[in-house]
Amino acid sequence: MQIEVIINDKAMALRVGKAEFLADALRRYGFCSVRKGCDTTCCGLCSVWIDGQPTLSCAVLAIRVDGKTVTTLEGVAAEAEAFAKVLAAEGAEQCGFCSPGFIMTVLAMKRELTAPSDEEIIHYLTGNLCRCTGYMGQLRAVKTYLGVAKDA
């Protein structure tokens, strides 16, 4: 069936399967920043925004976004790059497979929270797993990026 979506500020008509999940549909249409790491809504790799809200696209049927706006990492490239540079400077960009979902959540958090504490940051990002970095470097990068690092 066909759905009408605004993806990354562009109106698009997608042909999707009845039981197809948004993550798969987005990948099929070339939004390869969308990754999947689990089948059980545990890892956060597939995080995109639906109407501005960070959402697990592996758990949303594609037909459900008919008439909505979807934002993937490709749609916030400049902002993502600004954070990615901080992440890279920290050395906390490892295999990178978790990064798009992680960055989408970080950018959403930036919109939602002002001057969050460590606990608030950790809480906000808990759904985003990473097996490589051990999280500490990501936390340092987020704090630097948000300007809440002690020495920032």
């Binding site: 790799l45 960009e93 808990t126 759904g127 999280y135």
Partner: protein
């Protein structure tokens, strides 16, 4: 130094972070056939009959392959240099299935839906056998897991095939029993370490196609492209010259991708159909149908004299390799290799035992590779010894540890070690003086304690694995560094480029790194055994030195000067007096042109006769909730000696990441099966890797040493970092609660029960 020991960002960091199409699945042909595997529902059975005719008739199905359609040659999927020490005990598809999830048929169709539909149409008749699930009962069990007559071992690894014993091993120096009998204090304990999953975020995947010359091209998320090529040649019975393996960016490996898992399935489909094919394992398959860490049971006996010198170390082990013997003997040997030399006041040491087959998912390589299991047992026993001797465990270690320049009783000479300083720094960072051994009451039924452990690993496989590197000087004065090692995300490509740039006094961005493609890259066994920085790094240094010398010679010719009179500084080469000079870029241009007729390159192969150990001291502070038994890590300190740190930021992340993986192993991660051999932990719901909330605060420090056999003094860092959390956390739990947990993971129910039991005894 200009490039080495600098925290430069990874050269590929931005494209990775920004979700560019750089991973295997992103690169696959959109029209590739989708490959799916029909799997065994039984832990142990023989396929009496298999009928795929209905599936084959389904529209969109390209092929269905059963054990009747594949070559009849056994092989191993272990990523090891030829001749592999792992037994050749596999077929692409075997009429005997040996665990729930073992492969029964390969289906390829135009899309996933059709492939799944086709799988359901395959009829299989099984003769079900009695499965062997308890590895302590596997040796000599009535069921013989590998009864086949064509199983082959390249070496004598002590296999007793008809007894389900894959490998028997013994290392002994001195008379352990006699020394133990003389010891004033002997502690003995049996430890269990569980199967752990790699849980890298990118699951296993590969795709394949035939190129314009009809050669098989396999693109795979693998740590071992050259070994995969060899495996495919044998498994599919085609010449290796007809195969090309390409490794794009990898979404994590941790040793899992040191085993060839999926490549043969899509490759055989491409060979049979002539079409492009791709296979992507889902998370369930990745958990349930690949490999895990070898679960082990290790009984340790430590003997010490009254002055606190450890005189005897005796470890008896049993290891569970599951259905196939990948890495069975080698992981087991490492248990002894990385424990027996650690304490060097010993007079006798021994490590011995067996590895057995069971009807569970095979075990394989996983970061730490036996040192993790051995480290938990030995270090837990040392902590227990400290309690018996009533000494500070940090002091006990400082008194007994092998030191720089010493040779262990097993004959291992340590050229570099800062482990003593690692311990001292770690004590300061965790506040050992104030916190040990006092248990701290935190109110609400919570108590805190600290614990510690030290471990060692290796750097590369001594005398076996060799890596080659080639570096070309291009017409524009840039360099292309060709290597066959595989950056799994750790930044090894960047680190190797830093080394090349250092030798050539070049800017980092003038080094183009190409890895890995078996058609183009020089041979490298791949990235495992903590070898890339140390072994491949040395090959890069040598290749760059060779190129540098060639460039100097050419500069001398062009300047009509004596090469010995020349200095190379940044962008130019000039005579000492400075009267003649040539810019590198002009020289590069001249060389490839009609005048020079010379493409310069440096090539080197390096293999090390030694595998110098990196060391780590780990300190944990935990909080135990006595009402539930739940253990939370408050703080973890990892202090590492990896020789010279080539890139401090990247090394630090390695330490943090490995520490967290170790915390997972210590507290929550556990591959479990039910009574019928079905894996219960095949999703992230049941298999708990640490999240951000589970790790407390991690502090990292380095104590540099200088390893004379390593590039710029470097050793490895990737693996050693996972080893200390299990024993250090178990120790901290003891100091908080007074109970020793000897079986990993340290689950709340185990702590709670042990505490109850202890209180019962005290009342």
């Amino acid at each position: 130094m200009r490039n080495v020991s600098k925290s430069v960002p990874k050269t590929d960091a931005l494209p990775l972070a920004l979700g560019k199409p750089v991973y295997t699945e992103d690169l696959a042909d959109a029209n590739a056939l989708v490959v799916k595997i029909l799997r065994s529902p039984h832990a142990f059975a023989r396929i009496k009959q298999i009928d795929a005719s209905k599936a084959l008739k389904l529209e969109g199905v390209a092929c269905v392959l059963t054990h009747n359609d594949v070559p009849d040659v056994r092989f191993t999927l272990a990523g090891q240099s030829y001749p592999e020490p792992s037994p050749y005990d596999r077929l692409v598809l075997d009429p005997i299935v040996r665990y729930v999830g073992d492969e029964v048929a390969i289906v390829a169709a135009v899309d996933e839906k059709t492939a799944v539909k086709a799988m359901k149409l395959i009829k299989v008749d099984y003769e079900v056998y009695q499965a062997v699930l308890d590895f302590e009962k596997a040796a000599g069990a009535a069921s013989i897991i590998h009864p086949e007559s064509d199983l082959h071992c390249n070496f004598d690894i002590g296999m007793k095939q008809m007894e389900n014993v894959v490998s028997t091993h013994k290392t002994e120096v001195g008379d352990v029993e006699a020394v133990l009998a003389e010891c004033a204090v002997v502690v003995e304990e049996t430890y269990h370490t569980q199967a752990q999953a790699h849980a890298m975020m990118e699951t296993y995947r590969a795709f394949s196609h035939l190129d314009h010359t009809g050669r098989l091209v396999v693109v795979s998320s693998t740590q071992i492209p050259f070994h995969v090529r060899r495996q495919l040649a044998r498994a599919l019975q085609i010449p290796a010259s007809r195969i090309r393996v390409i490794k794009p960016r990898i979404g994590g490996g941790f040793g899992g991708k040191q085993t060839g898992v999926v490549e043969m399935f899509c490759a055989i489909v491409t060979l049979k159909t002539g079409k492009a094919a791709k296979i992507v394992y889902d998370r369930k398959e990745t958990f349930g149908c690949t490999t895990s860490r070898h679960a082990m049971k290790l009984t340790v006996r430590l003997g010490a004299d009254l002055e606190g010198y450890i005189r005897a170390v005796d470890i008896q082990g049993l290891s569970d390799t599951g259905a196939y013997g990948e890495h069975a003997s080698t992981v087991f040997a490492v248990v002894g290799d990385k424990t027996l030399p650690l304490y060097n006041k010993t007079k006798a040491v021994r490590f011995y035992g067996q590895v057995v087959y069971t009807n569970k998912m095979p075990a394989g390589a996983l970061r730490g590779y036996g040192a993790t299991q051995g480290g938990f047992a030995l270090e837990s026993a040392v902590n227990k010894l400290a309690v018996v001797l009533k000494v500070d465990p940090a002091e006990l270690r400082l008194k007994n540890l092998i030191r720089e320049g010493e040779t262990s009783v097993t004959g291992k000479t340590i050229n570099s070690s800062a482990l003593d300083r690692c311990i001292i720094t770690g004590k300061e960072l965790i506040g050992w003086q104030e916190k040990y051994p006092t248990r701290k009451e935190c109110g609400a039924g919570k108590v805190r304690g600290v614990g510690m452990a030290v471990t060692m690993q290796g750097s590369g496989i001594a005398g076996i694995d060799t890596a080659a590197a080639e570096i070309r000087w291009n017409d524009d004065g840039n360099y292309t560094l060709l290597i066959g090692s595989t950056d799994m995300g750790t930044g090894s490509d960047t680190i190797l480029a830093q080394m090349a740039a250092e030798v050539l006094d070049a800017e980092l961005d003038s080094i183009i790194v190409h890895a890995a493609d078996t058609d183009v890259s020089p041979y490298d066994p791949g990235s495992y055994a903590s070898s890339t920085t140390y072994v491949t790094g040395m090959a890069v240094v040598k290749a760059a030195q060779e190129l540098k010398q060639k460039i100097m010679e050419q500069a001398a010719l062009h300047l009509a000067a004596d090469a010995a009179d020349l200095v190379w500084e940044r962008e130019e080469i000039r005579t000492l007096r400075g009267d003649k000079r040539i810019e590198l870029i002009s020289l590069a241009n001249l060389l490839v042109s009609g005048r020079g007729k010379m493409q310069l390159s440096g090539t080197a192969t390096h293999g090390s006769p030694v595998s110098p150990p990196p060391f780590i001291a780990g300190f944990a502070e935990v909080e135990v909730d006595l009402a539930t038994g739940k253990v939370a890590v408050v703080e973890y300190v990892s202090v590492v000696d990896c020789g010279t740190v080539i890139n401090p930021n990247l090394a630090r992340i390695q330490v943090e990441g490995g520490t967290v993986q170790g915390i997972g192993m210590a507290l929550t991660e556990d591959v479990r099966y039910d009574r019928r051999g079905m894996m219960q932990t095949n999703s992230f719901m049941q298999y708990k890797i640490p999240s951000r909330k589970d790790v407390g605060e991690i502090k990292v420090a380095f104590e540099a040493s200088h390893e004379p056999t390593g590039p710029f003094g470097a050793k490895s860092v990737g693996e050693v970092v996972i080893n200390t959390p299990p024993p250090a956390i178990a120790h901290a739990v003891y100091n908080a609660t007074g109970v020793w947990i000897t079986e990993l993971p340290i689950l709340p129910e185990k702590v709670w029960q042990a505490v109850q039991k202890k209180q019962g005894n005290e009342e």
